[in-house]
């Protein structure tokens, strides 16, 4: 296949990817969009097989069979609650592939006579560096989300300095390559150093900040793919990689904005270390009294309400309570109660996490309200039922300038007539901050596992 024909075929792939993203702007067309993207990918793969330089097939076919079947099985088997770690994993392997391509390219072309073009060596280094960080960082994010390692920030003295020095060393090795040194160990140094940096960089970031990290790593892999495109002088890689890079960057900014924190604060702030006094302080929360309710009390409140808003958080995901929540909601609707769901942009562990879980439970998406719409509804809501959400409902974000989350836009559940908080215990939320909502006279607490509590509520409402 000639180079011109190849380029036009790659253009078809690019158009397919653009349409895929365009169709993602509405739930009714999104699925079709994903298929169009997949067709674009098949075209790109077929065209690449037909390239003159591709003469050795068995590596490709064996590799595709192994990787493809792993991807298919993992994607089919994964539970919806484990989706954030699955997204992190697929993101990481893409970054790893970009880094390996850089390694192979440098290994192949460096010993050739004459110096590398500057832009080629720069792109090799960028894709090696960014791809490796994305690979290692995604694996750490995966391990945190899968709870293979603790989700809380892992910090030690001088952490920033160690990370800074490491990054400086990686950049120095990169500059040496660009300056003309073609020593093979330099590219290895860049890759191994970047892998280590990826690990160290994600370790101090807390689980609640994962929506930002996952978006950022997604952007990294996209940029690494685009750099690979410069290396291989391949348009489809440049455009597709950069579309993803722009997308991930925008999502990262949106997530940061939804928490009213700068990206730097999220990445380097080690947010969510529990201060030793925080747990004790939370239990007392300014000396206010916490009112605990029984499931039967709450069932009565719900059954005779006109309007109930569910406020899901990570606790719902952990307890896998989304199906029971939907069942409770349908039961209430059958009694004539108006039901909706208030979704905070950073609730859960990845952007839009709650929406996917509730969609899995067959909640119709028009019932899922974004923060601003939901906040308009709270003043005329009888009961706000908070299911395993904490920081995104904390009124201190509005009122208390001393609070670490002051200024973060929240769901104003305290504007509802009454608030029910489903919670395991009085331990502080992920950010380790006390929540005055719990001692608000409007609030009652229903302690226990979210799934158990919701099941009791279902039984209670049925008995009414």
């Amino acid at each position: 296949m000639g180079q011109v024909a190849t380029n036009f075929a790659y253009l078809a792939t690019i158009v397919a990817f653009i349409l895929a993203l365009k169709f993602l702007s509405h739930p009714s067309t999104a699925r079709r969009g994903n298929w169009i993207g997949a067709v674009g990918m098949v075209i790109a793969i077929a065209v690449t097989f037909a390239q003159k330089s591709v003469v050795s097939y068995w590596e490709i076919i064996v590799g595709m069979a192994v990787g493809g079947s792993f991807g298919a099985v993992a994607a089919r088997r994964v539970k919806m609650t484990a989706m954030p770690q699955m997204v992190a994993l697929f993101n990481g392997v893409g970054g790893g592939a970009a880094a390996l391509i850089a390694l192979a390219e440098f290994h192949n072309i460096a010993p050739a006579p004459g110096r590398l073009h500057g832009d080629i060596s720069v792109s090799i280094i960028l894709s090696a560096l960014i791809g490796s960080i994305s690979f290692a960082g995604s694996l750490v994010a995966f391990a945190k989300l899968q709870e293979l390692i603790q989700g809380r920030p892992i910090v030690y003295p001088g952490q920033q300095i160690v990370n800074g020095l490491l990054l400086a060393a990686i950049v120095a090795a990169g500059i040496a390559i660009v300056a003309g040194s073609e020593k093979q160990w330099l590219i290895w140094a860049v890759i191994l150093g970047s892998l280590l940096f990826g690990v160290l960089f994600v370790l101090p970031i807390g689980g609640a900040d994962m929506p930002v990290v996952i978006s950022l790593l997604n952007a990294f892999t996209g940029i690494a793919a685009a750099a690979t495109g410069f290396e291989l002088e391949n348009n489809v890689l440049i455009v597709s990689g950069m579309l993803v890079g722009a997308s991930g960057t925008l999502l990262t900014i949106l997530m940061g904005r939804a928490m009213n924190r700068s990206i730097a604060n999220v990445l380097f702030g080690a947010f969510g270390q529990v201060a030793p006094s925080a747990a004790a302080a939370a239990a007392g929360t300014n000396g206010g009294a916490v009112r605990a309710a029984t499931a039967d009390d709450v069932a009565v409140m719900l059954a005779y309400a006109h309007k109930v808003v569910f406020v899901p958080g990570y606790g719902m995901a952990v307890a896998q309570a989304q199906h029971d929540v939907r069942q409770l909601a349908e039961l209430l609707e059958a009694r004539g109660v108006e039901v909706s769901y208030a979704i905070h942009p950073v609730a859960g562990r990845m952007p839009g996490h709650m929406n996917v879980l509730l969609a899995e439970a067959n909640v119709p998406y028009p019932q899922l309200k974004e923060m601003d719409d939901a906040n308009n509804e709270f003043p005329r809501t009888d009961v706000a039922l908070v299911i395993g959400a904490n920081d995104v409902t904390n009124p201190d974000a509005r009122n208390n300038q001393g609070s670490p989350i002051y200024g973060m836009p929240i769901l104003n559940v305290d504007e509802a007539q009454s608030v029910v908080v489903l919670k395991r215990s009085m331990s502080p939320g992920f950010a380790g901050i006390e929540n005055p909502l719990f001692v608000n006279p409007k609030t009652v607490m229903l302690f226990g596992d979210a799934k158990d509590s919701i099941e009791q509520l279902i039984a209670g409402v049925k008995a009414q």
Partner: protein, 124 residues
């Protein structure tokens, strides 16, 4: 075409892609942010093209063979997993006929009868 000229075209399309990406993504509602992440994840699986170009080379040493093979494995997992997971997610986003809560609320006591009607199979 000279190398510098090629580079200038590449940089041009890179910059256009950045603007296009921002424009496309800013239209995606927060409702679909997870499928968006997962869908863009699948799209960066396009590195498979790079992996194939490396792995498909004719005369290559052991290092290139091994590295190219692993790159193809990783990129294929990225592509297939990405699209399949996204499809699974998007399959779930359904729009039921709005449950018409207002009417149900007005019906008050009659709401119980109303419930059985709404149990009818969803029309999709």
């Amino acid at each position: 075409m000279s190398h510098a000229l090629t580079l200038s075209f590449e940089v041009t399309i890179l910059v256009l892609a950045i603007f296009l990406g921002f424009e496309l993504i800013s239209r995606v509602p927060t409702l679909l942010h997870t499928p968006l992440m997962s869908g863009t994840n699948a799209i960066h699986g396009i590195v498979i093209v790079g992996a194939m170009l490396v792995a498909g080379l004719g005369h290559k040493d052991t290092l290139t063979t091994v590295v190219g093979l692993i790159a193809v494995v990783l990129a294929s997992a990225n592509v297939v997993g990405g699209f399949v997971v996204t499809d699974r997610m998007l399959e779930m986003f359904k729009k039921r006929e709005p449950p018409n809560a207002e009417r149900a609320a007005q019906d008050g006591a009659a709401a119980d009868g109303d419930a059985s009607k709404r149990e009818a199979p969803p029309t999709q």
